[in-house]
Symmetry: C2
Subunit: 314 residues, 2 copies
């Protein structure tokens, strides 16, 4: 029980992270941007890439730096612990290649690297509970967030911290049917659909998958109507303000006879709606974990994996 209360406190810290003032320095001569990060530390780059496309943003969730990286590339390597082997490997290659390299971490090996080193306060959060710390330096550095958007986001997160009964209700529904959640997003919240998937995995320890409109209309759609095991699945679908996408969602539900649980984000800007949806998923997945009697902070298997991988390092 102790872990659950602690984790709830972690969730409530997201809004304060919006005030994190560090910014990624973006040199003038930069032609493209690479962001490296895995899992809970990778989500910041994924979210950012949906809000910024003035330069090509290339995401790396693996060991290898892409070949195009040069002195004209900004590489941002993000790892909460600072010891994620994939991300450390990419950062080292970036430095060797002469790229302008920024590291965002709370410590570890990564903290020793980088032309710019952004240090996240070390307070032993789960990496996935430090999304604000990892995302804000990107949003601020590229100048794509206003004070107004931040303050609206802050109040929405605060509201959710006080009132998240709806999240608990949905979690109850999912637990009752032992459903596998399938989350459908759309631009600019495709990464948030993926975030929910990963939060279901880590907070509730249930398998979950995400996909996005309009791409899913070219694959999932045919199976939605005729698959077996549909009674195992629970569809969570983000409402879209884009009329064409909204229409796609409606039509897809109708012609495939699917029960879509529509999640309508609050907020008057995409940034605010993004934070709202992000946090909504935090609570929903947290409650599902609690209902299942799961410790949401238990990542023992990932630790075990790292331990065993260590044995074979050479």
């Amino acid at each position: 029980m102790g872990d659950e209360i602690e984790f709830l406190e972690e969730l409530k810290m997201l809004k304060e992270q919006l005030k994190f003032k560090e910014k990624v320095e973006v040199p003038n001569n930069i032609e493209n941007v690479v962001i490296a990060g895995m899992g809970g530390s990778g989500i910041a780059g994924k979210i950012f890439s949906e809000f910024y496309s003035k330069k090509p943003v290339y995401l790396v969730d693996d060991y290898k730096l892409p070949d195009f990286v040069s002195k004209s590339t900004l590489v941002v390597a993000i790892s909460y612990s600072g010891n994620t082997e994939e991300t450390v490997s990419v950062a080292k290659q970036a430095i060797k290649r002469g790229a302008y390299t920024v590291t965002i971490t709370s410590g570890g090996e990564l903290a020793g690297y980088g032309d710019q080193q952004i240090r996240i306060p070390r307070n032993d959060l789960q990496p996935r509970s430090a999304t604000g710390f990892m995302l804000m330096p990107l949003l601020r550095g590229f100048g794509i967030v206003s004070d107004k958007e931040i303050s609206e986001s802050y109040s929405l997160l605060e509201q959710l911290d006080r009132n998240n009964g709806k999240c608990k209700e949905i979690a109850n529904d999912i637990a009752k049917g032992m459903y596998i959640p399938i989350i459908y997003g759309s631009s600019p919240f495709k990464s948030i659909a993926y975030r929910w998937k990963t939060q279901f995995n880590e907070n509730a320890k249930v398998m979950a998958y995400s996909n996005s409109f309009p791409e899913l209309n070219h694959n999932d759609t045919m199976s939605l109507a005729k698959t077996y095991r549909k009674d195992c699945l629970y569809f969570l679908v983000f409402k879209s303000t884009n009329k064409r996408i909204a229409k796609r969602i409606d039509i897809t539900a109708t012609i495939t006879k699917s029960n879509f649980k529509i999640i309508a984000p609050k907020g008057s800007s995409d940034i605010a709606r993004m934070f709202y949806l992000l946090h909504y998923g935090d609570y929903l997945t947290y409650y599902l974990g609690v209902i299942r009697g799961i410790n949401p902070t238990d990542v023992s298997l990932i630790e075990e994996l790292k331990r065993r991988l260590g044995r074979f390092k050479h």
Copy 2:
């Protein structure tokens, strides 16, 4: 039954598509590459992007061209039918922006656009059965495939056309348990894992999902050990020649007590292994459709969706 035999004939045409000689023209002054395509026509760009990283490759599976696109961008818009609304929209924006635009299509609206127009022979394939036609111009244009790799790939595909009993066997297993397939890939075959997912959706009309190592070690892993409904899932995992990834696969199976069906690609190069895995999935998903009594070429719902979307165009 007619449709099934015809579709089998379609599958056997992949190897001949390797001989398609058209090449994307890559102007010298190009700084980055955008490839637009949806579903069965989008897979070509996804595969290509795993084999080429000398310039940033940015994939679009939506309506909007990214902001960075300029005269120094090569935009390749791919749609088998030429009438995919998302892709047509991106191509039009690219032309307006002054990008060097290449279209790859068998006809339709898209055929009228592009500085270079690559025309696929029009023989009414399913878009997803024309992957070779859409992929080869990219591989050849960027000079990342050798004659030797092509001829090895050709013989492997020919072998699979003659001998694919193993695919049928796995399809039988999956059908018997009415499993939801989960496909785990790794570089440079992450896109092939996604391709299998979409082929399960379209050929067999079953829901399916994909993910990749090492990213999945940061999310799926925790749920693999403790999820409910694990007995609904069937894990198909591509064997990796990368030792670190191979080790990750082994350890993940062991510590999460998961039954991974390992698929080992034949071939001496990554290109040959890629084509082998691609085609292996074609047969596996085709057989699952046949066993389920499903017409693999039935895309009536996608047609219905397009029809209904048409009504709301303005």
